[in-house]
């Protein structure tokens, strides 16, 4: 019975993620207005045919800014997952496959780092490096390494005892080839799901830090910063908060559904 049930999480997750992707890709080539152009006449214009999502306190078109801001958030999140995930997977693969004292030390270290909330660690790094888009990427990447390393290590530990690895070894296949051509594809379901979780966390962390004013800096449009600016005018112009907020929510929701669906598909 359960097997026939459709994987709604995966379908909905892919749908939302694709929708947001299209939204931001469109924003790369076309925005209805210049996202930075200020228009005194359109100050706090309500959503309507002229400005679909309304205008902010400088008379900037919110739809255009949300499109650009989603792009920035996406860029930060993707860079973080690629950088942090890449290093984490490499660390996990080597420590899981070879073991030894390096593995022991790194995993102890991992345990310590792992027990700290992501956002707190990222704040520490921002505290040391200073605010800015690239520092946020760097901070979040470092913060994400342990979780990727842990997942990959576990998978490699389990896989390296399998018969197919032993027979490949007997046939003279090199360690590196076994690791990345033979074992790695088998770890993909968990790694992909982890990547989706990482993406989700990165979106939330970036939005949070930009909201605090220590993340993405102007003139880059950012969803978090738009939210913090909108707070002063919440009563008179709630649309300044609604649309950026909705974008963050959709990005996070899409990828958390995606990771749930991927896990279910992997049978775990």
């Amino acid at each position: 019975m359960k097997k026939k049930q459709k994987n709604y999480n995966l379908i909905l997750g892919i749908f939302i993620a694709l929708f947001m992707l299209l939204f931001l890709l469109a924003g790369l080539f076309y925005t209805p207005y210049d996202p930075d152009a200020m228009n005194g006449a359109a100050k706090f214009a309500a959503p309507g045919t002229e400005h679909l999502f309304g205008c902010d306190h400088f008379g900037r078109d919110i739809l255009s800014r949300v499109m650009k801001g989603t792009g920035t958030t996406f860029f930060v999140a993707v860079s973080t997952v690629v950088l942090g995930g890449g290093i984490g997977i490499l660390v996990g693969a080597f420590t899981g496959y070879f073991g030894g004292w390096v593995d022991e030390v790194l995993m102890r270290f991992n345990d310590v780092v792992f027990s700290f909330p992501h956002i707190l660690l990222a704040l520490v790094f921002i505290g040391v490096l200073g605010p800015g888009k690239y520092n946020v990427i760097l901070a979040l990447s470092v913060v994400f390494i342990p979780s990727f390393a842990r997942i990959t290590r576990g998978e490699f530990l389990a896989q390296k005892e399998m018969d197919y690895v032993k027979s490949a070894r007997l046939m003279g296949v090199s360690h590196l080839r076994i690791m990345f051509v033979h074992i790695f594809p088998n770890t993909l379901p968990s790694v992909l799901s982890m990547a989706a979780i990482g993406f989700n966390n990165a979106v939330l962390a970036e939005a949070g830090m930009s909201y605090l004013g220590i993340g993405v800096q102007p003139p880059d449009a950012s969803l978090g910063r738009m939210l913090s600016e909108s707070q002063t005018y919440l009563m008179s112009a709630p649309w300044c908060a609604i649309f950026p907020g909705l974008c963050i929510l959709l990005l996070a929701l899409g990828f958390s559904l995606l990771s749930d669906g991927l896990l279910k598909k992997g049978g775990k």
Partner: protein, 314 residues
Amino acid sequence: MKYVIKKTGTLIITLLIVSFLSFFAFSVIPGDAARSKLGTEATEEQVEALQKEMGLDKPIVVQYGIWLKNFVTGDMGESYSYSMPVDQMLKEKIPVTITITLMAFLMILALSVPLGIFTAQHEGGWLDRILMVLNQVAMSVPGFLLGIVITYVFGLVLKWFTPGAYVAASEDFAGFLGYLIAPCVAIALPRCAMGVKMLRSSVISQMEADYVRTALARGNTKNRVMYHHVLKNALIPVLTFWGMTIADIIANSMIIEQVFTIPGMGSLLISSISNRDYPVVLGIIVLIAALVVVINFIVDLLYSRIDPRIRIRE
């Protein structure tokens, strides 16, 4: 007892490592503390003299030793931007953050335990499905966004509270707690959703165990089996989650305090990061890190109480 001693040892080592790493990071990267304190117009001699005074010419390990000794006795150095001892600045802020943490944590417990059990008991029912969909959405909302929504709906439209009208605890304690309800809800809801999800799946997986079938076959009522047998086992994995939740609440209160303009540790940390006021940042971060490590230690001990197998395995 042996287990407790071993865990205490790990606790102390972890605390030392964490504090050293933080200290190291903040003394290497930000550049010259003496120079930044004196400004750009200082002469070389002045800088050198101040470096000596601040102990910056000594090896890093010695510096760390001095700093640690001062830190333990409550002296966390002086803020660059306010020329005020850091511990003085923190004294009023710490209780605020701790109150938020406790309140949010109690909310999470009060909501997620009954909901988790309820949804597990009615797995697949319509109420369970609705709650699970809501859960999924709640998990994806960042706390500060929820805070803004709450400010708008309950503060501005319904006028249940006045946004920004923070009252200090010393002036009006009830008013202080009342103002904290909204921010605590904003912190608690996403984590509560995760708690419900965890407890639900934990209870469901326990219900399939043989001992449940046996207990039911012997004529125990469903409720008795749930509260006397299943729950004890189901709570074990959730306990780790709760431990992590406390750390998470503290981290998130840093952001939420900003949304509701609460003068806690978070607001101070953020403004200090922007001002590059490193002694304050270092003090707050080490303090929070220590708190997180100690909470994990307590959770580990509780864990071994509930499940003695853990003590034996290690």
